[in-house]
């Protein structure tokens, strides 16, 4: 790829007069030697999987294999329909869709890892909610996915997208940065605004520990996906308003990585601290463990 940093990606898009999504798509095709049509159609297939997961999650009361989570996406949707909700419209939809995808993930349903399975709700949540709100064309939705991929690509190669390596900030944080950038593009923002949206989203999830109860991708992962979606939408709105991150996106990514290496391993997917060892966390761990023995 001709870019290693977000700044280089923005510059490349500006020079070519393209969106970040289009630039990333071209680069993917050139670097891998696969034709554009094939690359586009692969991404289109991923979009369809995302839509199906959201549909399933909001319509069925999907329950995880352990029984720890499930049914909340439908619960939230019913509540949203009542018109009583405080966060209305796109934000609540994004939160709802993210929750739906995460619940499907926990039930061993079909999802797209974006960038990981544990953080697979954030990007589809934001993209499908904003796409619905704007009435976006399908090709623009696909382009937005490439945009997200470009941001994730930089994070994955310069920092980390693994909870075990960098804590939850590396998973939900990266996913929120990707989603913010993607929806800025979908809403007609510039490449520069995309990078600002990504920076603002990631900044606000720095330090997030990875402390899953019983070692499962459920508590707190499922709800953190929906919160990541809310952060991403708000960050995108700020970027579209012309607000910039004082710390540039690439420096935020570097800071995330450094924070990740400073986090003790007990807060990096080992379930040895944080929520995992609260009295209820311990109790659930025992319960799941005993269930498994049967």
């Amino acid at each position: 790829m001709k870019y290693r940093t977000v700044a280089e990606l923005v510059k490349l898009a500006q020079e070519e007069g393209l969106s970040i999504g289009q630039t990333v798509m071209n680069q993917e095709s050139q670097t891998t030697g696969r034709p554009r049509e094939e690359v586009l159609s692969n991404m289109e297939k991923s979009l369809r999987v995302m839509e199906q997961a959201v549909e399933k999650g909001i319509n069925e009361e999907v329950v995880s294999r352990s029984g720890l989570t499930g049914g909340d996406a439908k619960r939230l949707r019913d509540y949203a329909k009542s018109g009583q909700s405080l966060s209305k419209g796109v934000v609540l939809d994004a939160v709802n869709y993210a929750l739906a995808t995460s619940e499907v993930n926990a039930s061993m349903g079909l999802i797209v890892a974006t960038p990981t399975a544990g953080s697979s709700g954030v990007l589809p949540g934001c993209l499908l909610a904003v796409g619905k709100h704007l009435g976006s064309k399908r090709e623009n939705m696909v382009n937005a996915l490439f945009n997200a991929g470009g941001i994730g690509f930089v994070i994955a190669n310069n920092a980390t997208i693994s909870g075990a390596a960098g804590g939850c900030q590396a998973e939900i944080g990266a996913a929120a940065a990707m989603a913010a950038s993607a929806v800025v593009e979908l809403a007609g923002g510039t490449p520069e605004q995309c990078s600002q949206g990504a920076a603002i989203a990631l900044k606000n999830l720095l330090g997030l520990a990875c402390d899953p109860v019983a070692g499962l991708v459920e508590v707190p992962c499922v709800k953190r996906n929906s919160m990541g979606a809310a952060v991403a939408i708000v960050a995108a709105d700020m970027a579209l308003a012309g607000i910039t991150s004082v710390i540039p996106c690439d420096e935020v990514i570097e800071a995330m990585y450094k924070i990740g290496t400073m986090l003790p391993s007990c807060l990096r997917e080992t379930s040895l601290a944080g929520l995992a060892i609260t009295p209820t966390g311990e109790e659930l761990n025992q319960k799941v463990h005993n269930l498994n023995k049967e």
């Binding site: 991923s46 926990a106 079909l110 974006t114 994955a156 075990a164």
Partner: protein, 221 residues
């Protein structure tokens, strides 16, 4: 660069809940099955570290068995892979080494066997559904399984590698990455050749003709 494609970031399409513990596990299983080349009658799987601690909750066991049955990480049948194994008459044995060991925390050792032979492969799940095969039949290697890969078990002697490379060149197949491991000088050895193009049966036969004693396996991503 650890990640080379956008589809490493937006992807894989997979059954949940964990790219490292489910999708990666399915790929380790499938790659092993690929090398073995047929349905085994017995699969003995040892899980280490985090795999051993959390495999049931993440469906790591279901995914590994699914892979051994040739299911992809996005196949929803993974959830019922134990039943499918039973239907095929594949005996499944799981062992765990949960305490700290020299192995990467997401390591699986897969031994497949039937009346014709056996195969032992060690794979690690490195995150995001990506894997590295670190050992085949005791040979230490580093194989991603992302590209078509030709494995040639041969005897360590001069010209062996050049002859295989020559066959690939004649068939217009480009080598993207290659490594060779051997037990000791002049002993049994393994060539691991990752290629840019798919390998046809004719090419594989041509490699086989170099020396009938070669054992050849193919990994299709």
């Amino acid at each position: 660069m650890r990640y080379n494609s956008i589809f490493d970031i937006i992807g894989p399409v997979m059954v949940g809940p964990s790219s490292s513990h489910t999708a990666g596990a399915a790929r380790i299983g499938k790659t092993t099955r690929n090398i073995f080349g047929r349905v085994p009658t017995r699969a003995e799987i040892t899980l280490y570290g985090s795999f051993a601690q959390t495999y049931r909750g993440h469906g790591t066991d279901l995914a590994l068995v699914g892979g051994i049955l040739n299911l992809n990480a996005n196949d929803e049948n993974i959830v019922r892979s134990f039943q499918i194994a039973k239907d095929f008459g594949v005996e499944i044995i799981f062992k765990t080494v949960a305490e700290e060991s020299d192995y990467h925390p997401n390591t699986a050792r897969v031994c497949l066997s039937d009346s014709k032979g056996s195969l032992e492969v060690v794979g690690i799940s490195v995150g995001g559904g990506k894997i590295t095969i670190t050992e085949i039949e005791g040979f230490k290697i580093s194989l991603s399984g992302d590209s078509p890969t030709l494995l040639v078990f041969h005897h360590d002697r001069f010209g062996a590698i050049a002859k295989v490379a020559q066959v690939l060149a004649c068939n217009e197949i480009n080598i993207g990455h290659m490594e060779v491991a051997r037990r000791s000088r002049g002993d049994q050895a393994l060539m691991v050749i990752e290629t840019d193009q798919d390998l046809t049966n004719e090419t594989i036969k041509a490699v086989k003709r170099i020396d009938p004693e070669y054992r050849i396996a193919l990994i299709i991503p």
